[in-house]
Symmetry: C2
């Protein structure tokens, strides 16, 4: 194996291991965050924050192709972050719940507060 260490931290390790959740949860968490890890999706989510919108409008707004938007909306749908509602030819998308807003908001806050901290360096 790579670097089996010799200095002792078995006590700490055992203690931390106890508190760690099951491996699966880390994968799920990463999966959740990876949805927000793309500028296009973040923008779509942010737009939907303001108002429910049809694919057509989201396409114009994003400046991407309709296909690209549809693909991303699918990702968002399958993650239960947005919900779709058909009305005639159009399909209207909206945020699924308040959680999405909170997660985005957390990120915004972190970014802005970071900036304040970093001015002090």
């Amino acid at each position: 194996m790579n670097g089996k260490p010799s200095h002792d931290h078995s006590g700490l390790l055992a203690q931390v291991r106890e508190k760690l959740p099951r491996e699966e949860l880390f994968r799920e968490l990463a999966g959740l965050y990876s949805i927000f890890a793309d500028p296009t999706r973040v923008k779509l989510l942010y737009a939907l924050w303001e108002s429910e919108m049809c694919v057509c409008a989201l396409t114009e707004l994003s400046g991407l192709s309709q296909s690209a938007v549809s693909h991303q909306l699918r990702t968002l749908r399958e993650s239960n972050l947005v919900k779709a509602r058909r009305e005639g030819k159009q399909v209207y998308y909206a945020l699924a719940d308040a959680h999405v807003r909170m997660i985005i908001e957390m990120g915004f806050e972190h970014l802005t507060e970071d900036r304040q901290e970093e001015t002090g360096r």
Copy 2:
């Protein structure tokens, strides 16, 4: 162009466009979230949540190679999510600030609450 739509939503579009932040912010947001978008990094962050730890301990804990851990720690360092402190041969890592905790916590809450909601479907 792809699908220049004909039905009207220019009013809504203009309104939403006004509220959208500059493009750059979406990229930054996505950048921030993409750090949490990997199971290994989430696990490392979660472990550091419990306690400051040296690379050696983190390597054992994660089950990955020392190299892999070091690479990920670098990513976390460069994003200002963790800070490093040298003490003799070892380097100890710790969470940079409370924000990291909050962001992870948000994710956890979303996952668990989602599960409750989904039982009703």
